[in-house]
Symmetry: D3
């Protein structure tokens, strides 16, 4: 696969996960570093999210968990929206956060739940 195909396949994957507005927001990073943007699209979404074997829903379960575990709450917002976009229900997202309590403790789970509450309100 040539590199421009990786980029194109990354863009297509991003369309399946994120709204037009969110993608426009993510693209802001291009102004600071076009190369980081290219890696996000070609490697992050072209190489990783475009793979088979796991469903979109399963990939978002992994992503949400990795973000909550490392306390990356800034990125959690867009992936909570992505999780809803690919078909996870609010109940399932709440359940993912609850399961995390046993693995990462209450502080990160509670903070994640607060952010989920905000996103749920915005998307109502």
């Amino acid at each position: 696969m040539e590199n421009n195909k990786r980029y194109e396949s990354g863009l297509r994957a991003m369309e399946e996960f994120f709204s037009k507005e969110v993608r426009a927001g993510m693209e802001e990073i291009k102004k600071i570093s076009p190369d980081l943007w290219e890696m996000i699209v070609s490697f992050g979404f072209g190489d990783l999210y475009s793979r088979n074997t796991l469903s979109h829903v399963q990939r978002e379960i992994i992503t949400l968990t990795a973000l909550i575990t490392q306390g990356a709450f800034d990125q959690l917002k867009v992936h909570l929206q992505a999780a809803l976009n690919v078909g996870l229900s609010k109940e399932e997202i709440i359940e993912i956060i609850i399961h995390c309590v046993g693995y990462v403790g209450f502080p990160k789970a509670v903070q994640a739940m607060g952010i989920a509450g905000e996103i749920f309100k915005e998307t109502e």
Copy 2:
């Protein structure tokens, strides 16, 4: 629900995830702290793993990701076995680890993959 019901429901959940040998190994912690053991069973498995909304497979995806992200490689082994027990294929486990590359970087993903390789060999 009374507390002994939480404990019993936790034990039943553990039977669905772990082999008899693994459960015997986990129970070793009871000799040091019976109270921590009680919490693992009643809260960890009775309250968390016994809930609905997510499947066993989805719960192990969350667990594996949380362990890889925090570098808890000691516990990763028993949950790789649990993941196989509840129906995740080797290909899917490998894919979970690969997806993690983008979220936690290569060092933890590579170490997780090495451990997965050992578990796959043992279970052949």
Copy 3:
């Protein structure tokens, strides 16, 4: 112990650590996930904080340290207030943060000290 006793004992423990206002703020999470709220009260405070062997002061030393070490600065605020409520002095809280420098480095210690400064001002 029945489950509603765990919940009641959790509520009583929370009254000893947090002001009425703080508890009202924490209860906001109930609107998003009543189940997570139940776990915070019954497991977090009923099972963990209600135990003996360690004093309230010792439990807050552990909590503050765990929060600082993982950079969970959002939750640090309410537990700095709790620490003052159960009898830790400002000097002791400052000393906990200073001791942490050797174990977690300056960045997290400095950020924690800044937050402590804000809480001290509010409670004057």
Copy 4:
């Protein structure tokens, strides 16, 4: 205070926390980096552990929690011994680890408890 006083005061603090054998083991680092050794003694123990306001027991509660939270299990061993040396009982150490469950999750707490079990056996 002159610098050689900081070093001497650090050595004295170390004698209160660690056995002769443990201190000899720690001193091995001097062969690789005498400067790091000097900092451990003068800053770590001379500046931090020699301070007032907190008791030796309280300092070890902080240290154990910081080590468990960051998964620094290698250093946990010597500080479990130190904790016993300055007067924490096995029951209190177990209780510290149990309290951590709510803040760092089961994986790190369980690993810490296993190590505590080993240290308790060695010191019987």
Copy 5:
């Protein structure tokens, strides 16, 4: 070396890394804890930054990487300014963040790049 020499040498090092405004901001911590301030200056800058063997530029590469890896984005701002002050170019800072993608994953790298973008704008 006497202690007041460590402090003076720390102050001199800080002048080489930070603007007068930034140093005034950092000094705010002195109001909450003069002792933590003394450690930042004497140990952080007097003992660590004043050492030889590595250049100022190399020290900031380490510092930026340690801050990004642990998600200490609050402190990242002043060290991005310091990095520019000691001679790292914007291109080199961007490159440090890009290299981190492989070691800490996209979420922290993307957040760091956003902050770098803000600092670059302010310093134009």
Copy 6:
């Protein structure tokens, strides 16, 4: 750039950092997941390490710091060897670890220094 060029450029970069033996060891991961191996080579070394703007020495300073900060001591060994291969001296490596004390605390710095001592002995 086509994908096979990314892979080739990654292999060439790896030759500059790692000995034949180390590369053979790393390639073991290919047996478990050829796709992860492809990503390590093409993205990790082809896309990241093959870039300009930073020297090989600067890249290893970043890598060592990221590994120490996250406690990824398994991977630290091969990158300590790589650091020596691309021209960092033992004194400089020791200095990197010492600088980290202020940013990540003593536990991780001490563990890193112990591992560095082992690698230095092996390479004498």
